[in-house]
Subunit: 350 residues, 2 copies
């Protein structure tokens, strides 16, 4: 890469605003090494105050002042109607205008999604960018989508998620041929409902430039059996929240057990560094892209700390440098051809 | 209760056959206290050998010999075609003939379900008994159904699950008015797909003798926000396996952390009793009924130990003594009336 990239940042988003986003930016090692430039959208006074403590950002940033901020509890409909000129809005508009190669925000998901759709428009026939979840497990991280944006999904939609998730996973994790699975209640061909069986038939037809593994089950998420798991937004949301709830329950019981007696407390004290590392390992990555837009937008958790925000900046740079948008486009074209060809296993879709 | 109950037992089912089922039976405290009698189906020699060590069962059991056993990996279709005369088959037939008030088996789920449907027939319009899962969490146990038997479920099916699950939970847990929720991606009325919204409208109409709470989300399972969570077999299966996978991943990482250094190992040693109690607490109950049959059948995990098998016998007795079948019937009648009345919120179902 010889071309220098620019990333636009909603400096005000998230629980701690500039106090997280700017120190986070200073930790974005890959982005800083790659000679990336940053547009900082938000309150100039607050941004300058924070920048004074971060000499390593000197000469790399450009401040775009605005007083306006979209609150973390703003309704998406209100954000779209009255959000123009807010830091989040301006960060995304910089992508639209071509000034920036990608935008990053810790602002609320609903508003970010609504404003992104309005400004950038979808590049695929999907209604909303699928929610992408990095799912940590025994062998790394699996990309799961959709975790809740598109509730009803037909077979075509599931295949579109597969195409988007595969290209994203390659760009984000540097894996040449990510494997893809469809979430189901069993691994045999006949399992599940019509939508997953039809999507399975389309992906199995082998017309796509991706490594389709087949059906996977819920416990395969934490086993990282495949790199990308595709599902409808209803099932994906239930899976995500069920996993989160289970993790909360188990860590609660563990805490209760390790404070249940003097010996248990003493044991926990001795094992404290190990238990801390254990806890940190369970935290999933804080950043994920909104896929399927005409432009790159990265959503970072509202509660992310500086390190996590820095990772989301690095992710933005990795994605901006990659070919993932073009790869998605190529496989989407193959999908349209597959859906129109009547002589192959896909015909049952019609 | 003045009438003495009889429970028929598939003595050969499960990973360890008579070596688990008979010692387990001897641990069924509520059943033994209630003057229950037991029919033991299986190999008479093996059963007698085991009984010789269990004097507390003397005079309470009757052996029904058969050489035939349904293997743990038998396909349901084969079990139905060739299973006649097997210990599992005979145990269920004793319920059909009225000799027993309920049957308990650790045999494989698919075969047990297929044979039960064939012999007892469904009492409700549901295709298959929903798989009932006891979901342990912060405040006890939530009953979740269907965990995989009925993949496609319309609103009527979901309401039927609510009716069955509610009556079962009351009988199994002694809770007078179990609360019921429908699994969804949010708690507001408009959330989710048509099926859950319609089922929500039907249950909200208040025509049923049950305490309907509304929509719940995936993480509400481990929080035990409601006593009974209703969902289609696809979503329920994904939720169950995702929860199991998450639990396996976390306990794996915990084990790795607690063996990662000398101090961690020493700490784990000191905390060992607490960590054992923690591990035991995460184990869900091993028994659940097949609901919606004309007769009581309890499925116990194939890998259950004697204590868990004893609990499944106690569960059978609790359910046999309860009114739960009649309660289901009464609410099912209310459902039929609700579906036929055009003037209430349920009309959108048609």
């Amino acid at each position: 890469m010889t071309q220098s990239l620019t990333i636009s940042i909603d400096a005000m988003g998230g629980d701690h605003g500039v106090q997280t986003t700017l120190p986070g930016l200073a930790l974005a090692r890959r982005a800083l090494a790659a000679d990336t430039r940053f547009q900082l959208h938000g309150d100039a006074t607050m941004i300058e105050q924070e920048l004074a403590r971060l000499p390593q950002l000197k000469g790399r940033v450009e401040i775009r002042h605005t007083d306006k901020v979209i609150a973390s509890d703003e309704k998406p409909a209100t954000a779209v109607r009255r959000g123009k000129g807010a830091s989040m809005w301006n960060a995304i508009e910089a992508v639209k205008s071509g000034e920036a190669n990608g935008a990053v925000s810790c602002g609320n998901t609903g508003s970010l999604m609504a404003i992104s759709r309005l400004i950038l428009r979808m590049s695929v026939p999907v209604d909303r960018p699928p929610l992408v979840v990095p799912w940590p497990g025994l062998r790394g991280v699996t990309t799961m989508l959709d975790a809740g944006a598109n509730i009803d999904c037909d077979a075509q939609r599931l295949v579109e998620f597969a195409i988007m998730g595969e290209a994203y996973h390659r760009a984000a994790h540097g894996i040449a041929r990510p494997t893809v699975g469809i979430l189901n209640v069993g691994s045999e061909d006949g399992k599940g409902h019509d939508e997953v069986r039809q999507a399975h038939a389309i992906l199995k037809s082998g017309r796509f430039d991706l490594d389709y593994h087949g059906f996977v089950e819920g416990d395969d998420l934490s086993r990282n059996v495949v790199d990308v798991v595709v599902t409808d937004g209803f099932t994906g949301n239930v899976a995500l929240k069920t996993g989160e709830g289970t993790a909360q329950y188990i860590t609660h019981e563990l805490r209760a057990a390790l404070t249940s007696s003097f010996l248990a407390k003493l044991g926990a004290l001795l094992a404290r560094p190990a238990l801390r590392a254990f806890r940190d390992k369970l935290n999933p990555p804080a950043a994920a892209p909104l896929l399927g837009l005409n432009g790159l937008v990265i959503k970072c958790h509202g509660g992310a700390n500086a390190a996590a925000f820095g990772q989301s900046i690095d992710l933005a740079v990795d994605l901006a440098k990659s070919d993932f948008a073009a790869e998605i486009e190529r496989n989407m074209t193959r999908l349209l051809v597959a859906l129109e060809a009547p002589e192959d296993p896909v015909e049952e879709l019609s």
